[in-house]
């Protein structure tokens, strides 16, 4: 199965990269762009075939390594 772990900075944590992207988009003439947040996505090929177990395992990976929960939140999707 494929697990996709999306890691974003928590609200309240300053995101200079998101801010810079927002500014650059304005500079390029894109109007109507509000807040921009930048995060990471990690795609994992898992041998596990049970979606629930795969999800639990990916969440475990996220907690232990993929996200730093002091500053980041995460979300796991299984496909």
């Amino acid at each position: 199965m494929k697990a996709t772990v999306t890691v974003m900075l928590k609200t309240g944590v300053l995101d200079p990269q998101g801010k810079a992207i927002g500014q650059a988009l304005h500079g390029l003439g894109f109007a109507g762009v509000g807040e921009v947040r930048a995060g990471k996505v990690i795609e994992l090929e898992l041998a596990e075939t049970d979606p629930a177990k795969a999800k639990a395992s990916a969440e475990d990976m996220a907690r232990k390594l993929l996200a730093n929960t002091v500053i980041e939140g995460f979300k796991v999707e299984i496909a």
Binding site: G12, V13, L14, P16, Q17, A20, K40, I42, K64, L65, L66, N68, V70, I71
Partner: protein
């Protein structure tokens, strides 16, 4: 002082650190490979700078999961002293041995230049050879040195007097311009609760020889030697 330097794959300032320690203590530190698990009998464990695991994913994240971290925790639990510089600071926060996190520099660029640091307290093993309020120069070189912690944590750090150094102007003022990486409250380094674990972003170890442009960083190591020499 029995000191060791922990080497993770991708660490690259271990030799700088060894030179600084040897210069000030006259003894070569022990170099510890990240797969070792016994750090008993040491006074000081240093996690030096560099790019452990390439700084991939998050700086320090993978190193914080290394086998040696168990021994480092045990050393901390024994009341041992730990110094984490740059990547070492990032690793200590990732491992939860120090609070907060180090985010991308506010300007999103790597910063390699000298900065000025103000010593917030001179009564720790690390700062005994500085005066409180003293300002010293130090090289820094990092892409992710923007110290972050939530307000509660920051208030607690300040309340407990655990801020070790702040980025300041040469005159000692905590201005925004002096705080190039955007750190919360100009924080450049912090202590653990027992004041025996210090993490900081700049590299005092690269300024212990007048040939390299000064000895501003030397008192930190001299102080450690004086405090920890059994």
């Amino acid at each position: 002082m029995k000191a060791a330097i922990v080497v993770f794959p991708g660490i690259n300032r271990e030799r700088d650190m060894a030179i600084a320690l040897e210069t000030c203590s006259g003894q070569k530190p022990r170099m510890v490979w990240h797969k070792e698990t016994d750090l008993s009998g040491l006074d000081l464990v240093v996690i030096p700078g560099g790019f452990s695991y390439g700084d991939y994913l998050r700086c320090g994240a993978m190193a914080a999961q290394s086998p040696v971290m168990g021994a480092i925790r045990a050393h901390a639990a024994r009341g041992g002293h730990i110094l984490g510089v740059c990547n070492g600071f990032q690793i200590l926060t990732e491992a939860g041995l120090l609070p907060g996190a180090l985010l991308r520099n506010a300007g999103l660029r790597f910063l390699s230049m000298d900065c000025h640091l103000r010593v917030e307290r001179a009564d720790t093993a690390f700062t005994g050879h500085y005066q409180t309020g003293a300002v010293f120069r130090s090289p820094m070189a990092h892409g992710d040195g923007n110290y972050f912690a939530d307000d509660g944590t920051l208030d607690r750090l300040e309340g407990e007097n655990r801020v070790a150094f702040r980025y300041v102007t040469p005159a000692g003022e905590t201005t925004a311009a002096a705080n190039r990486n955007g750190s919360a409250r100009n924080i450049a380094g912090i202590y653990s609760e027992n004041l025996r674990v210090l993490g900081l972003m700049p590299h005092p170890e690269d300024l212990v020889d007048p040939l390299m442009g000064g000895t501003d960083g030397k008192p930190l190591f001299d102080g450690l030697v004086a405090a920890l020499a059994a």
